[in-house]
Amino acid sequence: MSGEARETRETGGALPDTVILRVKRLRKYFDADGDDPVRAVDNVSFDLHRCETLSLVGESGCGKTTAARAIIRAHAPTSGEIWFRTGAGEVVDLAGLTARELRPLRAEMQMIFQDPYSSLNPRMTVRDIVAEPLRIFGLTDRRALDKEVGGLLEAVGLQRSHMTRYPNAFSGGQRQRIGIARALALKPRVIIADESVSALDVSVQAQILNLLVGLQQRHELSYLFVAHDLSVVRHISHRVAVMYVGRIVELASCDDLFERPRHPYSAALLAAAPQVDPDRSGGFAPPAGEPPSSRNPPGGCHFHPRCPHAVARCRSEAPAWRQLDAGRLVRCHLAEELSLTGVGAAGGAARAQAQDRHG
């Protein structure tokens, strides 16, 4: 592993300045020694830029959470490279590091979890929860800690006085703010947010999304955002990667992907997403069938049994991961020929009008 890592180190050294994280051919197989390993993440590659939000979307079991966890090394990757530009300007392959080598880098990449109830220890005060990472990284002076924690709480829209309380005194949205304060404590450069607003009520979800966007601008953060709610993804992302059965099938800028999807699966997801739009006609169209198991996915293109456009080639030959046009990568044989519908112009304009009327 380490030999391979050294060998490819030059690739990482050539990381463009704007790229903070480069994932190359990442694989995470569970039960890897068995006959049918679960290919949870299968040959995933992408770049995350500075101050960018890249979203991983897809149905449950598509590997989006596993990919995020492998990148943060909560799972050991089966193979692949995870090049990370550290605060000191070095470029290192996280996949090739030992736990000890990884430790100083943990501060730079932090995670915000989905469930604000189970991700905070109910027996610790907010002060101790937010101060814990600081303490682990050597800040022990109580007064300095309190000052730091107070500042963090204010940065996420809570009050200094909340420090002495326990998590159960807070609502779901406030708890998520505590989790965000904890993630920010070590001044990370990359934040992995795994379904971080999914458990929140709509009125609170908007507050947290606004907070995340504000913090990104203020602290120059890069977000890897794992989510299934496409409206949230549309709002927060600069670029979007759509995953299906362990593979990224399309990666494009947010507007391109939503307005002009080029992979039939992206189009199917968009068609199935419910949205509030009084002028949208026709309702939504569910795609047939269910996602296959990643232990035994269909041959060729994994999506072919559900794809309305599939031809013989899709059943026999796995499509390559290729650049379609500037900023767009796709894994489909027919991407050039298909004309797929996204969500966009007409409905959006009508809703905007309605909003102006009531605004």
Partner: protein, 346 residues
């Protein structure tokens, strides 16, 4: 999905077209360690045949508790119900709250007149009985059929809800099925006695968007075929916009606005509804600055504010009015009712 809706007329009086269920001034109180909590505070709603009523609200708004009160599956040790829930049976009406929740009469109605689909079919099916046995039990509880006849009917019903290989599914356990198929089985069981009302409590929340779309399409199709009323409880305004004919928006145990879906989404009358719609990120529109979030959080039920329950977060609240007086219902359009002082007629 939308196209079918034109044919569905809104019921207005008459024995066959009147509401299947009329809820009047429903209150639900829970006795907790911290004292008595009012979870539902004077809810009145009509559920019309052949139509889907979407009940939307954030957690703690009382939407599920309202549904449980209709089914009378409340925990009677800690729960007190008030008001009336009038179920139409032919030319008669029956107040469900006058029945004993655990009594034979209510057991007879439950499943027969009112079907229920839960959010998580994994926990609502028994893991130790086959799907087939559970559906057969439900049929034979209400109909005098032999086991063979009931099995036949169950298979027919599974086919009806689009289940692949229904004979095979009969012998499977709930945990052997995917979430989407489990929910189909749950719907098959809930509809096997052809109830006049189906209550679906967050039926698609645990499902992926593509599976969600399939299940919603199925409910819509079954409604067209059987003409049952559907009470769809959800926190997802997108789901409601896609399938509901009528909408009730709930906040802290009260209905703040209700009426036809088209009217509510075009001209939301209550500030809470307006803010809720504005705080949603849009699927089809490019980002234009920050979302309009609603400030603060939902108050806890034991600290219910006086007057209009939303006044603590409402940007249009009128001091001395909204914090004192509970607003009366005002009709703003046909069948579209808003509970807000901004609509008070002088």
């Amino acid at each position: 999905m939308r196209r079918t809706r034109v044919a569905r007329a809104a019921g207005s009086g008459g024995a066959d077209t009147g509401p299947v269920v009329r809820i009047r001034d429903l209150t639900v109180d829970f006795d907790t360690a911290e004292g008595r909590i009012r979870a539902v505070d004077g809810v009145s709603l009509d559920i019309l045949p052949r139509r889907t009523l979407g009940v939307v609200g954030e957690s703690g708004c009382g939407k599920s508790v309202t549904a449980q009160a209709i089914m009378r599956i409340e925990d009677k040790r800690i729960c007190t119900l008030g008001g009336r829930i009038l179920l139409r049976r032919g030319r008669d009406t029956l107040d469900l709250l006058s029945l004993k929740g655990t009594g034979a009469r209510m057991r007879e109605l439950r499943g027969r007149e009112i079907g229920l689909v839960f959010q998580e079919p994994m926990t609502s099916f028994s893991p130790v009985h086959t799907i087939g046995n559970q559906i057969v039990e439900a049929v034979r509880l209400h109909f005098d059929l032999t086991r063979a006849e009931a099995v036949e009917r169950a298979i027919e019903q599974l086919r009806h809800v689009g289940m692949p290989h229904p004979e095979h599914i009969m012998n499977r356990y709930a945990w052997e099925l995917s979430g989407g198929l489990r929910q189909r089985a749950m719907i098959a069981m809930a509809l096997i006695c052809a109830p006049g009302l189906l209550i679906a409590d967050e039926p698609t929340t645990a499902l992926d968007v593509t599976t969600q779309a399939q299940v919603l399409a199925l409910l819509d199709e079954l409604q067209d075929r059987h003409g049952m009323a559907l009470m769809l409880i959800t926190h997802d305004l997108g789901v409601v916009a896609a399938v509901a004919d009528d909408v009730a928006i709930m906040y802290l145990g009260t209905v703040v606005e209700c009426g036809p879906a088209a009217s509510i989404f075009r001209e939301p009358g209550h500030p809470y509804t307006q803010l809720l719609l504005d705080s949603l990120p849009s699927l089809s529109r490019r980002r234009r600055g920050a979302l309009k979030a609603i400030s603060g959080t939902v108050p806890r039920a034991r600290n219910r504010p006086g007057g209009c329950p939303f006044h603590t977060r409402c940007p249009s609240a009128i001091a001395g009015v909204c914090d004192r007086v509970m607003p009366a219902p005002t009709q703003v359009a046909e069948r579209h009712v808003v509970h807000c002082h901004l609509h008070d007629r002088p």
